[in-house]
């Protein structure tokens, strides 16, 4: 605790010194971060393999590559983001200048999660640095190798008086939450999200909560075989691709018309075999479950007899290696836990509907997800999905790729969280947009001041309407 407070005091001192407000400092830190992931790529691969059995290609795609892209983008755009934006002012204020300037918030706290232990830790850090804050990063203790890596190497590359990594479990998290921060950025579950926000309320600290939710995939009945093939590949890529389904924007379940379901299921099975081989449990191309606790949780989902009966593919588990085979379920009961809770693992329920239009109602009767995926060529249906459902984001005809678009805000709504980041949004998330109005001493409009009389009231009336003609008449005494 003592150590923590000293560390925090140092961060506050650094922020106060103004060093982090400097564009040069921000750029140097971003460059150092890029250097870090270049130099230590091997170590990152190794840590991710240890923590999650993540294949280096997956690690590069979802972690190192993402961080590099974000950091390079921030580096390239920094000056533009930092530049104050001019605001238009009413003529009545002339001469005056209005602008909005982004200023750093101060000392910020970032809680990362274990499923993408490098990218979900460093991506927000990039935003916090770009915005000129000092940072405490608390990696997840559930990915211990990655946490160790960050604690060891971040201080070697980045300004250790401004950016600190504090490892530890829930007790450390709690201690951190007792301190006053200028912003808390949290990635994780709704349950802990509530605790974080409640603690933040004591200090009036703004929070960004990146939570999850059950992200559905709507698969419309497609006619072209090549489209179906691409769809199935992308569904698999969005389910088992990212950390074996342990991803907040991973596919949670599929909605498909009953008559089209067999085609999809058949192709799913075939493609899974192609991607992961005959014995997926031995595949190096798929992550394992993070720990015993989560393994047990997923196992429990499958134990429900009605759910077990709905398994149509896979379903075998290896508790020793913490591996669960890609598993497909057809129409498990909707009130079973697998359909009420976020799955966060390699189980894919397929829910069949009579008509794909019903998917909108289906999604709307559940908490708002972080993402809705839909594979359809029907533009009317696309428009309907955008306007009639609510979710953090919507992606048509693909999965996961929205995460890589720096120009799109990434964040939830309702149960899936609030606040957004990526690209410029990361910068904004860690900035305060300060409004600045500059006036001169001349001219001075008399009617602003008491004692009040009818003339002044009229003047103000015209002023608010920007009715300069009548204003002029009034001033010349021509208007009664």
């Amino acid at each position: 605790m003592r150590e923590l407070e000293d560390g925090l005091a140092e961060l506050r001192q650094t922020f106060k010194s103004g060093r982090t407000r400097n564009a040069a400092w921000r750029k140097n830190q971003l460059r150092a971060l890029i250097q870090l992931i270049h130099d230590k790529e091997d170590k990152i691969f190794e840590a991710l393999l240890q923590d999650l059995g993540k294949h280096p290609v997956e690690s590069y795609r979802d972690e190192i590559g993402i961080i590099e892209k974000s950091a390079v983008n921030a580096l390239n755009c920094l000056e533009k983001w930092m530049a104050p934006k001019k605001s238009r002012l009413p003529l009545l204020f002339f001469p005056a200048k209005g602008e909005v300037m982004s200023e750093p918030l101060g000392v910020v706290l970032i809680f990362a999660s274990w499923n993408f232990p490098i990218s979900l830790a460093l991506d927000p850090v990039i935003g916090a640095i770009a915005a000129g804050n000092t940072v405490v990063l608390k990696p997840s203790e559930l990915a211990p190798e990655c946490a160790l890596f960050l604690a060891e190497f971040v201080p070697l590359y980045l300004d250790c008086k401004a950016i600190k990594v504090i490892g530890g479990g829930a007790d450390v998290g709690e201690q951190l939450l007792q301190q006053k921060w200028d912003k808390i950025f949290f990635t994780g579950s709704p349950r802990v999200g509530r605790v974080v926000m409640s603690a933040a309320a004591k200090h009036l600290t703004p929070v960004t909560l990146e939570l999850g939710g059950k992200c559905p995939v709507i698969v419309d009945t497609l006619s072209s075989p090549s489209d179906i093939k691409v769809t199935v590949k992308r569904v698999i890529g969005g389910k088992w691709g990212p950390c074996s389904g342990q991803a907040c924007i991973g596919v949670d379940y599929v909605l498909v018309e009953e008559k089209f379901a067999p085609t999809v299921i058949d192709l799913l099975k075939k493609t899974i075999k192609k991607f992961y081989g005959d014995n997926p449990k031995d595949s190096k191309n798929i992550c394992r479950i993070v720990n015993k606790h989560h393994f047990g949780r997923l196992h429990k989902l499958l134990k429900d007899p009605l759910v077990a009966a709905s398994i149509i593919h896979g379903g075998s588990l290896d508790e020793e290696k913490l591996i669960i085979e890609p598993t497909i379920l057809l129409n498990p009961p909707l009130d079973a836990e697998i359909m009420t809770e976020e799955i966060f693992g390699p189980l894919l329920p397929i829910i069949t509907l009579n008509n794909i239009q019903e998917s909108i109602e289906f999604i709307n009767s559940r908490p708002k997800p972080l993402t809705i995926y839909a594979f359809t060529k029907d533009e009317t249906f696309q428009r309907q999905i955008v306007s009639e459902t609510s979710s953090g984001s919507v992606t048509f005809n693909d999965t996961m790729v929205q995460f890589a678009c720096d120009e799109l805000p990434f964040g939830g709504v309702g149960q899936s969280g609030f606040g957004r980041y990526h690209g410029k949004y990361s910068f904004d998330t860690f900035s305060h947009e300060k409004a600045i109005l500059q006036r001169s001493f001349f001219p001075e409009l008399e009617p602003r001041y008491p004692p009040w009389n009818d003339f002044k009231l009229k003047f103000i009336r015209f002023g608010y309407k920007y009715d300069y003609f009548n204003l002029l008449l009034l001033l010349m005494g021509l208007k009664k």
């Binding site: 790529e41 926000m197 955008v386 306007s387 953090g392 109005l437």
Partner: protein
């Protein structure tokens, strides 16, 4: 347990607030006997009292029913249409136009707010908000195109603003009309269903709002719940899609804590001690007038962006005080207590709070101008104090009233440290002709917003976001920012079925990694090399697992 921790802090203030409320009504009586030149129809307080007792009880259960009704209306999708939004905002504009006198009268009852001030700061501002929203609504609602990286080629992307759902707006008593309707306009513009809880401390405006909104707006989607602590607590038990709160930091914490239970995002518009740093190289007369406009012309200092205290140099202070005194007398006459151009203190609770700030031992001797008070009329005259000690209550708490302490420093630059040593204010003002100082102030002082060489006007500029930072709150509104405050920005990505890069999918190979590297890095040359099987990258041997 939860409801206990939620309610107890409220309960502490409920008694004082309620007793003050009653007293204020009583004092309202006495005050109304004073002749005024503004000819209002005679106020009917007895009627109001009756209404008060008649008020039905609003509890958690009733809150649930209300919520259900509004959610059903929201789910029907009617609030999403442009037509609905437009018609509701138009109705607000009509309402303000048609009921101008009633509104001014209610504000007079609650705060003795002068007619012109009521017009300037509440009626006109509300009208401008409606006008602006109506003018721009269509363009605000339009999805904004977003660029996509060519990694995802072919694709297109847009950002869609969608309504959040059913939102709760809890407003306050100092600008009870504007600060209720301004956020409501934003919430409607963004297509939400709304519950407004006006402040019970401005009872006349609260009941007028309840009456008018029922009369003018769509009852199935926009509602007013009147009441105090119990009603607010009942409302907070429910799950809202956004809570917008204007008021003090203490209640702000309670609101945010209640919101945390339901993961509801909040906007907190709080206050803080807004400083005015006054340099000596300025047009003194104009500066003094503008400071007065930002203090006593602002609801007699009871405003969140009113000037709270002044910092100037020792040398310059006497001149500034003279100019302020002259200005006050010019605006409010020799005896400001008799002026009808200045608001009264809202109620006895706040009167006593302000009196206790003045009566503190180390403060009472520092008054250099004013200091008059009249408990019966709830009036405190414009009061200037010089060199109040930093550890006094007056310099620690937000004053929110007509007391203006002036702190002096040797060199004006020392003022920066004074400001930075306190929590971040909602607004910071500086009066100077020195360009470097302007720049330093803007760069180095943190505040919700800042204004150079004037006060309060930033509030009227709809192209500037209005909101606090740190202890002065979070989130911003006004103009388009209001629309954004009540919208979710949904990223929508349209991909085609073409352009499927196999490198994304397992089984993973070294070639795939090289290609991915080039793709993510946007390295065209690398991609071509990788595709034709060459690679400049010698890191392939990492891959072997």
């Amino acid at each position: 347990m939860r409801s206990l921790s939620l309610r107890s802090p409220f309960q502490n203030c409920s008694e004082e607030v309620n007793s003050c409320l009653n007293k204020a009504i009583i004092y309202g009586y006495t005050y109304k006997k004073n002749p005024t030149s503004l000819s209002f129809p005679s106020p009917s307080y007895s009627k109001m009292d009756k209404e008060e007792t008649k008020q039905r009880k609003f509890d958690v259960k009733e809150g649930g029913l209300l919520m259900k009704e509004l959610r059903t209306s929201f789910n029907s999708g009617k609030t999403k249409s442009y037509e609905w939004r437009k018609s509701q905002i138009q109705s607000i504009a009509t309402m303000v136009e048609e009921k101008e006198n009633e509104i001014i009268e209610a504000l007079y009852k609650d705060l003795s707010k002068p007619k012109t001030e009521a017009f300037v700061s509440e009626i006109s501002m509300t009208k401008s908000s409606c006008k602006l929203a109506l003018k721009h609504l269509k363009s605000w609602m339009m999805p904004v195109k977003a660029k996509t990286p060519w990694t995802t080629y072919p694709s297109s992307a847009e950002i869609v603003s969608e309504p959040l759902g059913v939102v709760l707006i809890i407003s306050t008593w100092n600008y009870p009309f504007l600060l209720s309707l301004d956020p409501v306009i934003g919430a409607i513009a963004a297509g939400n269903a709304v519950v407004l809880k006006p402040s019970e401390i401005a009872p006349a405006t609260s009941s007028l709002l309840a009456k008018l909104i029922l009369e003018y707006l769509d009852k199935s989607t926009i509602r007013v719940v009147e009441g105090a602590v119990a009603e607010t607590s009942a409302l907070l038990e429910h799950k809202w899609d956004k809570i917008f709160y204007t008021g003090g930091a203490r209640v702000g914490r309670i609101i945010m804590d209640a919101a945390a239970k339901h993961l509801t995002p909040v906007i907190l518009e709080l206050g803080g001690k807004c400083p005015a740093l006054v340099d000596s190289n300025i047009n003194l007369q104009v500066a003094a007038r503008r400071i007065i406009a930002g203090k006593w012309v602002c609801n007699n200092g009871q405003a969140c962006i009113a000037v709270d205290y002044i910092i100037t140099t020792k040398q310059f202070a006497p001149m500034l005080i003279d100019a302020l005194r002259n200005g006050v007398e010019e605006f409010f006459g020799k005896d400001p207590m008799e002026s009808k151009d200045i608001s009264r203190i809202v109620n006895l609770f706040h009167f006593n709070r302000l009196a206790s700030l003045l009566d503190e031992d180390k403060v009472s001797g520092k008054i250099v101008y004013g200091g008059q008070r009249d408990e019966n009329q709830l009036k405190i005259g414009p009061t200037i104090l010089l060199d109040v000690p930093e550890d006094s209550l007056m310099m620690k708490e937000e004053i929110f009233g007509p007391l203006l302490p002036i702190l002096t420093v040797e060199r004006i630059e020392e003022g920066f440290d004074v400001i930075k040593s306190k929590s971040k204010p909602l607004a910071a003002y500086v009066f100077t002709d020195d360009e470097k100082m302007k720049k330093d102030f803007v760069q180095n002082v943190s505040a919700g917003g800042m204004l150079v060489n004037d006060t309060v006007l930033q509030l009227t500029v709809s192209s500037l976001p209005f909101g606090g930072v740190g202890d002065s709150g979070m989130g911003a509104y006004h103009g388009k920012f209001s629309f954004d405050a009540f919208s979710h920005k949904k990223g929508v990505l349209y991909r085609s079925f073409d352009g499927d890069a196999n490198a994304r999918y397992p089984p993973y190979t070294p070639q795939k990694q090289t290609l991915l590297k080039a793709l993510i890095g946007g390295n065209v040359f690398g991609i071509i090399l990788a595709l034709i099987g060459w690679s400049r990258d010698d890191s392939d041997d990492h891959i072997s697992v």
